[in-house]
């Protein structure tokens, strides 16, 4: 083989791998929207499985409460600590409360809670459905005239989407409480004025935009987890891969869509 040929084949190789990667990305996006579309389609068709919805809502909502609550409370505490140290330099300590409540409700509580849930729930959705796929349990559902999207995916996606806003609402409260506790106990802030400042600049819109975000993130992370699991191939190793990439992809998509959502919801 001449040097020229080697070079050409090297270029072709690079192009090939770029092509394959981008094809893979398109495939991934296609699967995401396939699952999303099928989920919406089957949500409004009988039978409605109330018991399964409830079970999944407990699994997502109640079981995630400790980790989401802790995350948010410590975020509020750190936020108060950091802003206090900064604002102190230009004697604006009075605004710590506003910064904590605004940044928590608008941004930090929804995003951090969703990332935690992507790790906790998104991964387990992918592992669960992936295992069912590779052991032919999903085929068995089809064979028993049960649509797996309806039986498995709808309650899981539905429960995650429905449970994220209340989780984030609780996270908001705990985060604000964390900031309050630190400011009052460690920084010597006046409890009454701190409380006043917390709500002085806080609009209903700030809270509701955060909760809308939370619902959208819940939808995204659960559809990602389910689509990763649903299309798993390659045995136990494939399940492992699906689980990891459900968390990675879910988190990345949450952060990217966070930007655009913030732009839309201002």
């Amino acid at each position: 083989m001449s040097a020229e040929q080697t070079q050409a084949s090297g270029v072709v190789g690079v192009l090939e791998s770029v092509g394959r990667k981008s094809l893979g990305l398109f495939e991934e996006i296609g699967r995401f929207f396939f699952i999303l579309h099928a989920t919406v389609y089957w949500t409004f068709r009988r039978p409605f499985d109330g018991k399964e919805w409830l079970r999944q809502m407990v699994r997502v909502g109640v079981d995630s409460l400790p980790v989401v609550g802790l995350t948010s409370m410590f975020t509020g505490m750190v936020l108060a600590l950091q802003t206090y140290r900064g604002f102190e330099r230009f004697h604006a300590e009075g605004f710590v409360a506003s910064v904590v409540s605004l940044s928590l409700t608008r941004e930090l509580a929804p995003v951090l809670a969703s990332l935690m849930i992507a790790g906790r729930v998104g991964s387990s959705l992918a592992a669960e459905l992936g295992t069912m796929r590779v052991t032919e349990q999903i085929d068995a559902l089809y064979a028993m005239a049960t649509e797996p999207i309806q039986y498995l995916v709808v309650p899981r996606v539905g429960a995650t989407t429905v449970m994220l806003p209340p989780l984030v609402a609780i996270a908001n409260g705990l985060g604000i409480f964390g900031g309050y506790a630190i400011s009052v106990a460690l920084m010597g802030a006046n409890p009454v004025t701190y409380w006043e400042k917390t709500f002085q600049y806080l609009d209903l819109n700030d809270v509701s935009s955060g909760l809308i975000k939370a619902a959208v993130f819940g939808l995204i992370l659960s559809v990602t987890g389910c689509s990763k699991g649903f299309f798993t191939t390659g045995g136990a190793e494939g399940v492992g891969r699906a689980t990891t990439s459900a968390v990675v992809m879910g988190s990345v998509v949450i952060l990217v869509s966070d930007f655009f959502l913030t732009k839309i919801l201002f």
């Binding site: 052991t135 085929d139 068995a140 089809y142 064979a143 028993m144 005239a145 049960t146």
Partner: protein, 263 residues
């Protein structure tokens, strides 16, 4: 798309329960099915045999629409399963019961719940009637008393029998069994055969069974089909099948090695 009467000469007047027309399927560029044609009459028990990896499982999964072919059609009672609305597909699948080669039991449920699953999904039976039917099915496959077990506690042969019990629990019109007797001792295997033979007596049950066990193939079949190189190379009544001149079939029946290898 042509559905309904196909009006082939020489066929019985009744349309076939299952018609497979020119089915093609490949995986990663490797052709597994290369134009399978097959008709199964209502009430018939068809056995499909063929070498390991010949595509028998792939074929039987096409029959119930678990795999979409690249080309060809699967017609169930005149309706094309390869080309239908999702909701309609589900309705057609309600006619089926299928047992999978590896069991495919729901591991989040007990043995009892697995067998009760189709009953709970598709009938209005009360819990007592469901329990009675599940016990009956478990007794049929000699697994009485295992209803409360988790599926992970079962041996391979037990899993396969639970899968078999789950397939028949709803008494569907069409039954597909993918190697129901592999890995079973001869006596238990004969038990499964007896259940199949018993069901064959009911005129309205159509069965397609895959097996490697020629003894049981001859016991349960109305016709035996050979799948080889992606096509049905022979299909005949058991007594005729036994005396077919095809050297591959003779080797297959005798369990002798083959000189020229399968592609």
């Amino acid at each position: 798309m042509a559905t309904g009467e196909r009006g082939e000469s020489g066929r019985a007047a009744a349309p076939p329960k299952i018609a497979v027309i020119d089915l093609h399927k490949s995986f990663a560029g490797r052709e597994v099915l290369r134009g399978v044609n097959l008709e199964v009459e209502a009430g018939e028990s068809l056995v499909i045999v063929g070498g390991s990896g010949a595509g028998k499982s792939v074929l039987i999964k096409h029959l119930i629409g678990l795999i979409t072919p690249e080309r060809g059609h699967v017609i169930i009672d005149g309706e094309d399963l390869t080309n239908c609305e999702p909701a309609r597909c589900l309705a057609i699948r309600r006619k089926f019961g299928m047992s999978f080669q590896e069991g495919a039991l729901f591991d989040s449920m007990t043995v009892f719940e697995n067998i009760a699953f189709p009953l709970r999904r598709h009938t209005r039976m009360d819990e007592a009637a469901i329990a009675a039917r599940v016990q009956e099915c478990l007794a049929l496959v000699h697994l009485d008393g295992t209803g409360g077990k988790a599926t992970s506690e079962l041996s391979g042969g037990m899993r396969r029998r639970v899968g078999f019990a789950r397939a028949i629990s709803l008494q569907p019109e069409i039954l597909l069994f993918d190697e129901p007797d592999t890995g079973l001792d001869p006596i238990t295997s004969a038990v499964i055969d007896a259940v199949i033979v018993e069901m064959r007596k009911q005129l309205d049950v159509t069965m397609v069974t895959i097996t490697h066990n020629m003894q049981s193939a001859f016991r349960i079949a109305d016709r035996i089909a050979m799948l080889r190189n992606g096509q049905i190379t022979a299909i005949a009544r058991p007594d005729v099948f036994r005396s077919l001149a095809d050297p591959y079939i003779q080797k297959f029946l005798a369990g002798e090695p083959l000189e020229e290898e399968v592609a």
